[in-house]
């Protein structure tokens, strides 16, 4: 039967139940020996069972039943802040309360569970499958976030009471010294403000450049994507699903007069791309530029076009525009030709996206 189990061996029997992460000093063989000893030794078995009963009692300390709030319970929102580790002068008071109140203890437990670092495999899969986990979604949101106008960093406004305290400080004997100091301070302030303004302008300008660069990159990527779709070899069988995602419109040059004459483009829900065929483009040749504008000349989209042979012969051009850009409104398309001495306007088209 061997000697009785020591404290360390008994301790080991309870470790997996609640602290499996801790390093175990026992190997698998030693654990099997402990189990074998328990089968034959009533004394050790009784000792282990007694400790097992304590562990079962400890498990009963937690209340799982829903409990109503008491009069002293703080607002429910407090527990989110405590679980997030936000420093709060009353945090320790709240914790003491949660330890003695099953209602608040459960709320704290819930909040802590929401913020637990570990993700389950199921949660990992759920997050990975979100649209917001894609780079495209994140870029789109980042573009929208940066576009929301913010005020420039606040300049250093003079503090109230500055002049009055200076006046109080002045006496005839100090006047000369103070005047010299004041001149120096004013020069310093002027210099500081100039530096701050220039720095702010520089920051703003570099941000604008970045934004423009990003716009250009985005447009290029979108054009490349659309061109790739356009240049795909025609499938052997018709693909109605893809075609259903494209809204089409044919336009002749010239501005429309009155609402009745304006061509209408209905963009069905689910449409990803709008294909617009422009007629009467003259002789589309070289590098052409298309700009999509609202009637108040706000630029929505622009792209460079290199007409194909077929387009050159037919005198028409086909544009592909992302459908999400075309919200219900009136639009203009300005077509111009890139020349060495600048762009030359070729034709203007108008259409309406109805509600």
């Amino acid at each position: 039967m061997g000697p009785h189990l020591n404290d360390g061996q008994i301790e080991e029997l309870f470790r997996p139940a609640w602290n499996g992460n801790a390093e175990s000093p026992f190997d698998r063989g030693a654990l099997e020996d402990i189990q074998a000893h328990l089968k034959t030794c009533d004394s050790c078995r009784e000792r282990v069972l007694a400790q097992q009963r304590v562990m079962e009692q400890l498990a009963l300390l937690k209340s799982n039943a829903p409990v109503s709030p008491g009069l002293l319970c703080p607002p429910d929102g407090v527990w989110i802040e405590v679980a997030a580790g936000i420093a709060n002068p009353d945090a320790e008071k709240y914790l003491s309360h949660a330890m003695n109140c099953d209602h608040c203890g459960q709320l704290l437990n819930q909040a802590a569970g929401d913020f637990d670092e570990e993700l389950t495999p199921q949660e990992e899969a759920q997050i990975a499958s979100l649209a917001s986990s894609t780079t495209a979604w994140q870029t789109k949101v980042a573009v929208r976030l940066q576009g929301i106008q913010a005020v420039s960093p606040a300049g250093s406004a003079p503090k109230p009471g500055w002049s009055s305290s200076m006046v109080a400080f002045l006496t005839p004997s100090r006047l000369t010294l103070v005047a010299a100091l004041a001149a120096l301070i004013l020069l310093g302030i002027g210099d500081y403000r100039l530096t701050a303004r220039l720095s702010s302008q520089s920051l703003q300008a570099s941000a604008d450049v970045n934004r423009l660069q990003r716009d250009v990159d985005l447009e290029r990527a979108q054009i490349a994507e659309l061109t790739a779709q356009l240049n795909k070899p025609a499938p052997s069988a018709p693909q109605p699903v893809q075609e259903a995602n494209v809204a089409s419109l044919t336009l002749d040059s010239g501005l429309s007069r009155g609402t009745g004459e304006m061509k209408r483009l209905s963009v069905p829900s689910g449409a990803g791309i709008v294909r617009i065929t422009l007629h009467s483009t003259g002789n589309p040749d070289g590098v052409m530029r298309e700009e999509l504008l609202t009637v108040d000349r706000r630029k929505i989209w622009s792209q460079e076009l290199r007409p194909s042979d077929a387009e050159r012969k037919s005198g028409s051009l086909t544009l592909l525009i992302p459908a999400y850009l075309l919200t219900p409104e009136d639009y203009l398309i300005v077509l111009s030709r890139e020349l060495p001495d600048g762009p030359e306007q070729v034709a203007t088209y108008s259409f309406r996206v109805p509600r």
Partner: protein, 230 residues
């Protein structure tokens, strides 16, 4: 992006507070997406709707909170400690979800409406309600554990150690959740080790044979002896 991935949260917020810095916002969304998505997903799941559409919308709403009030949060956030902004982000995301569902339920049920209760309605008592046998037994157990704890949780960290014990066993928090709480000042390993030691001590105390009360009638002092009683 190469350099932005290494800048501090403080600098990142400063750059995002200036409109037009697309790279900073891309880094912001990239860096905090997982954290926000996790908090939103779990909180939304608790309210019963963790569909992709809802979660994506709430994640987006959380990001847009940073631009509210002229980007007040970004410009004025007080970085009191290294994890301050992360903690704030978790709370913000959870509150966005809570507000969304509270508003949705309020609309569904009708705001400011009170449901009627049938006359003579007596709510059935739950098995575990206050006053039930289970509840009384649990109260006794809490008292007994508390008495043992008071005997061996001593020293300058007595209160903190005792709190850790109750937070683990009574509130049911994990060691990592306890370590993240304000005022605990222990790592997850530290909390695990403390719980290990306290549980061992408690087990030994609660299983130790009680000292026998062996007082003879002769030593009992003056009192009413059975034969003298009425």
């Amino acid at each position: 992006m190469e350099t932005l991935s290494k800048i501090s949260i403080e600098d990142l917020l400063r750059r995002c507070s200036v409109s037009g810095d697309i790279e900073a916002w891309e880094e912001f969304v990239r860096r905090f997406h997982r954290l926000i998505a996790k908090a939103v997903l779990r909180t939304a799941a608790r309210f019963g709707d963790s569909s992709k559409g809802t979660v994506d919308d709430l994640i987006q709403e959380t990001y847009f909170k940073f631009c509210s009030q002229n980007r007040h949060i970004l410009r004025n956030f007080d970085h009191r400690h290294p994890g301050a902004f992360i903690g704030y982000l978790k709370v913000l995301a959870a509150n966005v979800v809570r507000d969304h569902f509270k508003s949705a339920y309020s609309k569904k049920r009708g705001a400011n409406q009170v449901e009627g209760m049938a006359e003579g309605f007596i709510p059935p008592a739950r098995k575990d309600s206050a006053g039930s046998l289970e509840s009384i037994e649990r109260g006794v157990l809490i008292g007994e554990v508390g008495r043992h704890l008071a005997l061996f949780a001593v020293g300058q960290d007595r209160e903190r150690n005792s709190n850790v014990f109750w937070l683990y066993y009574r509130v049911g928090l994990s060691a990592s959740a306890i370590a993240a709480l304000p005022g605990i000042d222990l790592t997850t390993k530290g909390v695990e080790s403390l719980i290990l030691r306290m549980t061992r001590e408690l087990r030994e105390r609660m299983t130790a044979p009680k000292p026998a009360i062996n007082v003879s009638v002769r030593d009992a002092g003056k009192g009413i002896l059975p034969s003298e009683s009425f």
